[in-house]
C-alpha cells in the first residue's frame, strides 16, 4: 500500500492505496465522486476526463499514486456552490447531452479546450479537439454548439470576474 496526499476539488485528501489503483478508482470508489465515468479500457472514450493540475487527463489511464501531490478537479468540483459553470449551463441550454454518461468527460474536455485555445472556437477546432471523447447519443451536433456557446460565455468578463 502507498500513502498519497492530493487535493481533490479544492479539498485536501489523503488515502492508502494499492499501487495498481487507478486515479478513477480512487475518485469513484474511495472518494465516492461517481460523476467521473469509465466507458472503455483503451483510453479512447474520454468519459473519465478530469483535470490534473489544470490540464485534462484520462483518469482511467493514470495511477492514483501518480497523482500524489497534485490537484485534481472533477465534474463535481466545477460549479461554484449552486452557480453552475458556464460550460455546464451551455450543455443544458443547447441540449448537449442525452443519456448523460459521456457528459462529465465532455464538459471537462471542453473547459480544458477553452483554457488552451481561448473562448472563440470555431466548429472545426471544436470537433478536432473532441477527438478523445466519444458520445453515442447526440451525434455531437449539439455538443459542438454547447462547447462553442460555453466557451464564449467563459470569455465574458462579467463571468470571468466571478
Amino acid at each position: 500500500m502507498a500513502k498519497i496526499s492530493l487535493t481533490v476539488n479544492g479539498k485536501a485528501v489523503t488515502a492508502e492505496v494499492e499501487p495498481r489503483t487507478l486515479l478513477v478508482q480512487l475518485l469513484r470508489e474511495t472518494l465516492n465522486l461517481t460523476g467521473t465515468h469509465v466507458g472503455c479500457d483503451t483510453s479512447q472514450c474520454g468519459a473519465c476526463v478530469v483535470h490534473l493540475d489544470g490540464a485534462a487527463v484520462k483518469s482511467c489511464t493514470m495511477l492514483a499514486v501518480q497523482a500524489d501531490g497534485a490537484s485534481v478537479t472533477t465534474i463535481e468540483g466545477l460549479a461554484k456552490g449552486t452557480q453552475l459553470h458556464p460550460m455546464q449551463e451551455a450543455f443544458r441550454e443547447h441540449h448537449g447531452l442525452q443519456c448523460g454518461f459521456c457528459t462529465p468527460g465532455m464538459i471537462m474536455t471542453a473547459v480544458d479546450m477553452v483554457a488552451r485555445l481561448g473562448s472563440e472556437l470555431d466548429e472545426a477546432t471544436i470537433r478536432e479537439n473532441l477527438d478523445g471523447n466519444l458520445c453515442r447519443c447526440t451525434g455531437y451536433h449539439n455538443i459542438v454548439k454547447a462547447v462553442e456557446a460555453g466557451a464564449r460565455a467563459m470569455g465574458q468578463p462579467a463571468l470571468a470576474a466571478e
Binding site: C45, Q88, G100, F101, L134
Partner: protein
C-alpha cells in the same frame, strides 16, 4: 423557456434531468454499492467453439479473497432455466423455430468467443480476476463457422443438435405466385446483392448489475442497466425461474444509453441475482468495454439477394427478396422478430408495390448473439429498398427523386402486400422539403466545382419509412410475440397539487422526465417543476413494457393521456360538489375548474387538496384521493417517414469520404419537444453514418473477434460528422390520442442508404460495401482506374 413555467406541447423545453448529469450527480448502476457487496468476474471462452471436458477450480478457489466460483453445473443443480427468445417464428413448412439451449453459464459446450464458462465471485474485482486466471478449463476445440453465408454449407460445423444445417427457421412473407407473375410481365428486372454489416451497439455506459438477496423476506433485488426492467423481471421469474415476480424487484436507475442492446436478458445479470442467494451477499458486475464487444448483442448482419421488377416507364411491379440473417450462437431475447416482422413488413418502403415476396433464413454461427439495435430490421429493409430503388432509377436513366415520386403511395390508408397498413403520410412533402434544404438542384454545379479541386462529389437520397410505436398487442401476438406491447401509466396527484407520473416506459437518454412532464404540465396547467416522472423500478411501477422501437411517445405518453383523462373526470366531480354545480357544467382549462358561464372556479391544487380532505363530497359516491391508472394499447403501429439527403466528397488520393452536407426531413406526427426530437435525429444519423462509413464487427475465419476494442472498431467521432440540417413535416398519426409517431430510430434507419447512394454516385459504381472505409473506397477507385487503363 424554463422548466418552472407551465409548458405547452411543441415547446423546446430544456431538460429537467440535465442538472444531475452536468453536475456529476447521475446515478448509474455502477455508481451504486451495497453493504457487504462482492465482485463478479466472468471467465469467458477464448474459443469460438469447444466442448468443455473439465473445469478445475480447486487452485483458484483457494486464492485470497475468493468467495465462490460457480459453473454451469451449479446453475443446473439449482434448476435455473435457460435464457429464452420471446418471439416464436414458424418456418414455411409450419415447424417452430429451432431454439438451441442457452444456459447463463455453459453446460458442456461454448459456442462463441466470450461465451460464459464460469463466474468468480470475490471480495474485490482484482481478487476475482487473479483467481480467474487460475481456473483451469480443459477445452476440446471444435471447428467453428462465423460467416453468415457459410453457416448453411453442408460441411459447416453444427452448433445446436436441434437445428440441422444451423437453420433456426426458414420463413417467408408475401405472395410468391403474385410476385412471380409480376416479374414475368416486367420490362426491366434490377438485381442487387448486398451485405448489411454487423454492428456493435456500444452505448458509452457498459452494462452492469448488482444482485442482492434478503433472506429475511426471501426476496431478490436486481439493479441493472435495462431498457425494460419489468420485462427483465418477467423473464427472470417466469422462464429462468430465479424467483416469483412478487419476490423479485428490478431497478434500472439512470441508464447510459441502450440503442436496443439493453433490452435483452443476458447471462451476467441473471448470474448476479442468482448467485447473490448462493453466496449470501450482494454480487456486483460491471462490464468493461472489451467484454461489451464480446457479449453485448450485436445488430444487423444480413446477406441479401433481391430483384425489383419494373414496367417500361419506371413503375415498380414487384419485389423479390432472399435474406440470410445471422443470429449468432444463441437466440437472444427478441432476435427472431428482427429479420422477420420488423424487416420484411417494411419492404414496401414508401412505394406502391403490388407484389412482394420475401424469404428469410435465420442461421446460427459461432459469434455473439444478434438482436435489436437501433432501428432493428427496419434499417436493413430501408437500406435494401432505397439502394435498389436508386439503382433502378440510375439504370433507367431517371432522376432518383423523380423515380421515387412516380412510385410513392399517395392515398391513405394504404395496405401493403406485407402486412402493414400505412395510416397517414405525405411522402412528397418531405421529399420536396429535403430537396429544397439540400439545394438538390444546385448539385451539378457543386460537383463540377469539386472535380476542379480533384474531389469526387456525390449526392444520395433515402426515403425511409418505419413501423414504430411497437405495440398493438393483438397484432404482435398474432405474429408470434410472447408478450403484449401496450403501455401503462399511473398519475398520482398529491394533496398539494403536485403530480407524480409512474410510467412503464424507461428513459436512458430520451428525456422522458421532460417530455412527459411537459405533457402533464400542459394538460393540468401546473408548472413543470411540480411534475415528477417515476420509472425504472418494478416496486414503484406495477408493470410496463419499457423503451425501444420508438414507442415511448406514441404508446407510453398515450397511456399517460388516458390516465390524465380519468384524473380530470374525477376532479371534475369533486369540483362540482365544491362549486355546488352540476358535473356537466364544470369546465377545465388552464389549470382551473370553472362553472360554465360564470366566474366561479377553483385551481387544480384546491381540488386536489379537497380530494384528500374529503369533507365536501359524499365519499359513498366518490372515493377520496386523486390517483388514476391506465393501460393503453393502440390500434396500429405508427409510420414515421421522411427523406434524408447526404452530400459528400471523396478524396481519391486517400479514399477518405467527407460528408459535407446532411439534410433530414422527418414526419414524426405531432412533436411534443422539438429540441429533444432533433437530438434523437442527430444521434440516429450519427449511428447510420457510422454503419455506412466506419463501423463493422469482424470475426476471422476461426470465429475470433478482431474488432474487439475502440482501437479497431471505428466509432463515429466529432470529426467524422458535419452539423446536420433538420426539417420537419407533419401528418398527424390517427392511431393515438396525441398524434405522435416516434422519432428515436429514424436517423439510424434513413442515413445508411443516403450515404451509400451518395458514395455510389460519387464513385460511379454500385458495388460499394459497408462500412465504406477509406481503404475500401481507395481499392474501388484503383480497380476502376485499372479497368479504364485496360480499355484505353
Amino acid at each position: 423557456m424554463n422548466a418552472s413555467t407551465i409548458s405547452t406541447i411543441g415547446a423546446p423545453v430544456r431538460r429537467k434531468e440535465d442538472h444531475r448529469f452536468i453536475t456529476g450527480k447521475g446515478r448509474y448502476t455502477d455508481d451504486m454499492n451495497r453493504p457487504g457487496q462482492t465482485q463478479a468476474y466472468f471467465l469467458r471462452s477464448p474459443h469460438a467453439h469447444a466442448r468443455i471436458r473439465a473445469i478445475d477450480t480447486t487452485a483458484a478457489a483457494a486464492m485470497p479473497g475468493v468467495v465462490a466460483i460457480l459453473t454451469g453445473a451449479d446453475l443446473a443443480a439449482d434448476g435455473v432455466g435457460d435464457l429464452i427468445c420471446g418471439w416464436m417464428i414458424h418456418s414455411v413448412d409450419g415447424t417452430p423455430m429451432r431454439m438451441g439451449s442457452h444456459p447463463a453459464l455453459a453446460k458442456d459446450t461454448v459456442r462463441y468467443v466470450g461465451d460464459h464458462v464460469a463466474v468468480v465471485i470475490a471480495e474485490t474485482l482484482n481478487a476475482a480476476k487473479d483467481a480467474a486466471a487460475a481456473v483451469e478449463v480443459d477445452y476440446d476445440v471444435l471447428p467453428a463457422v462465423a460467416e453468415t453465408g457459410r453457416a448453411q454449407a453442408p460441411d459447416a460445423p453444427q452448433l445446436h443438435e436441434v437445428a440441422p444445417g444451423n437453420t433456426v427457421f426458414s420463413w417467408e412473407l408475401g405472395d410468391k405466385a403474385a410476385t412471380d407473375a409480376a416479374f414475368s410481365g416486367a420490362a426491366h428486372v434490377i438485381p442487387l446483392d448486398l451485405v448489411n454489416n454487423r454492428l456493435a451497439p456500444n452505448p458509452i455506459e457498459p452494462r452492469a448489475a448488482i444482485g442482492e438477496y434478503d433472506s429475511g423476506d426471501d426476496a431478490f433485488t436486481l439493479w441493472t442497466t435495462s431498457q425494460n426492467p419489468h420485462l427483465a423481471r418477467l423473464v427472470l421469474s417466469a422462464f429462468v425461474g430465479i424467483a416469483p415476480e412478487n419476490k423479485l424487484r428490478v431497478i434500472a436507475p439512470d441508464v447510459g444509453g441502450g440503442f436496443g442492446s439493453k433490452i435483452f436478458i443476458y447471462a451476467e445479470e441473471t448470474v448476479c441475482v442468482w448467485a447473490a442467494k448462493r453466496v449470501g451477499r450482494p454480487v456486483k458486475w460491471t462490464s468493461d468495454r472489451s467484454e461489451a464487444f464480446l457479449s453485448d448483442a450485436h445488430g444487423r448482419d444480413h446477406i441479401t439477394h433481391a430483384e425489383l421488377a419494373l414496367d417500361a416507364h419506371g413503375k415498380i411491379l414487384g419485389f423479390r427478396v432472399k435474406t440470410t440473417a445471422n443470429m449468432g450462437a444463441y437466440l437472444s431475447t427478441f432476435a427472431s422478430s428482427i429479420p422477420t416482422y420488423l424487416y420484411a413488413t417494411l419492404l414496401s418502403g414508401q412505394y406502391d408495390i403490388p407484389a412482394i415476396h420475401c424469404h428469410v433464413d435465420a442461421v446460427y454461427t459461432n459469434t455473439a448473439p444478434v438482436d435489436a439495435y437501433r432501428g432493428a430490421g427496419r434499417p436493413e429493409a430501408t437500406f435494401l429498398v432505397e439502394r435498389i430503388v436508386e439503382i433502378a432509377a440510375r439504370t433507367l436513366k431517371m432522376d432518383g427523386a423523380a423515380f421515387r415520386r412516380r412510385n410513392f403511395i399517395t392515398s391513405f390508408p394504404h395496405q401493403t402486400p406485407v402486412i402493414m397498413a400505412y395510416d397517414a403520410g405525405d411522402y412528397g412533402a418531405s421529399l420536396d422539403k429535403a430537396l429544397m434544404l439540400s439545394d438538390y438542384a444546385g448539385f451539378p454545379a457543386r460537383k463540377a466545382e469539386a472535380a476542379a479541386r480533384g474531389k469526387l462529389r456525390g449526392i444520395g437520397l433515402s426515403n425511409y419509412i418505419e413501423a414504430c410505436g411497437i405495440a398493438p398487442s393483438a397484432a404482435v401476438g398474432s405474429l408470434g410475440a410472447g408478450v403484449g406491447l401496450w403501455e401503462s401509466a399511473e398519475v398520482r396527484v398529491n394533496p398539494t397539487g403536485n403530480v407524480e407520473v409512474l410510467t412503464g416506459s424507461h428513459s436512458h437518454g430520451q428525456g422522458h422526465e421532460t417530455t412527459f412532464a411537459q405533457l402533464v404540465s400542459s394538460r393540468l396547467g401546473i408548472p413543470m417543476e411540480q411534475v415528477s416522472i417515476v420509472h425504472g423500478d418494478t416496486d414503484k411501477v406495477q408493470f410496463g413494457m419499457g423503451t425501444y422501437g420508438s414507442r415511448s411517445g406514441a404508446v407510453g405518453m398515450s397511456a399517460i393521456v388516458k390516465a390524465l383523462d380519468k384524473v380530470e373526470a374525477k376532479a371534475k366531480k369533486i369540483a362540482a360538489y365544491m362549486l355546488e354545480a352540476s358535473e356537466g357544467d364544470i369546465e377545465f382549462k388552464d389549470g382551473r375548474f370553472t362553472v360554465a358561464g360564470t366566474d366561479r372556479g377553483l385551481a387544480f391544487a384546491e381540488v386536489a387538496l379537497n380530494a384528500y380532505v374529503a369533507h365536501k363530497f359524499p365519499t359513498s359516491e366518490i372515493e377520496p384521493g386523486l390517483k388514476e391508472g391506465a393501460f393503453y394499447d393502440p390500434t396500429n403501429f405508427t409510420f414515421p417517414a421522411g427523406c434524408h439527403v447526404c452530400e459528400l466528397e471523396v478524396d481519391p488520393d486517400t479514399g477518405v469520404t467527407e460528408i459535407v452536407n446532411f439534410v433530414a426531413v422527418d414526419d414524426f406526427g405531432v412533436v411534443i419537444n422539438p429540441m429533444i426530437v432533433e437530438g434523437q435525429v442527430h444521434g440516429g444519423i450519427a449511428q447510420g453514418v457510422g454503419q455506412a462509413l466506419l463501423e463493422g464487427v469482424h470475426y476471422d475465419g476461426d470465429g475470433q473477434l478482431v474488432t474487439g476494442s475502440f482501437m479497431d472498431y471505428t466509432m463515429p467521432r466529432a470529426g467524422n460528422l458535419p452539423s446536420f440540417r433538420i426539417g420537419l413535416t407533419e401528418t398527424r398519426c390517427p392511431s393515438n390520442p396525441l398524434g405522435i409517431k416516434g422519432c428515436g430510430e429514424a436517423g439510424a434507419i434513413a442515413a445508411p442508404p443516403a450515404v451509400i447512394n451518395a458514395l455510389t454516385s460519387a464513385l460511379g459504381t454500385e458495388d460499394v460495401p459497408m462500412p465504406a472505409t477509406p481503404a475500401k473506397v481507395w481499392q474501388i477507385i484503383q480497380a476502376q482506374r485499372a479497368v479504364a487503363q485496360a480499355a484505353e
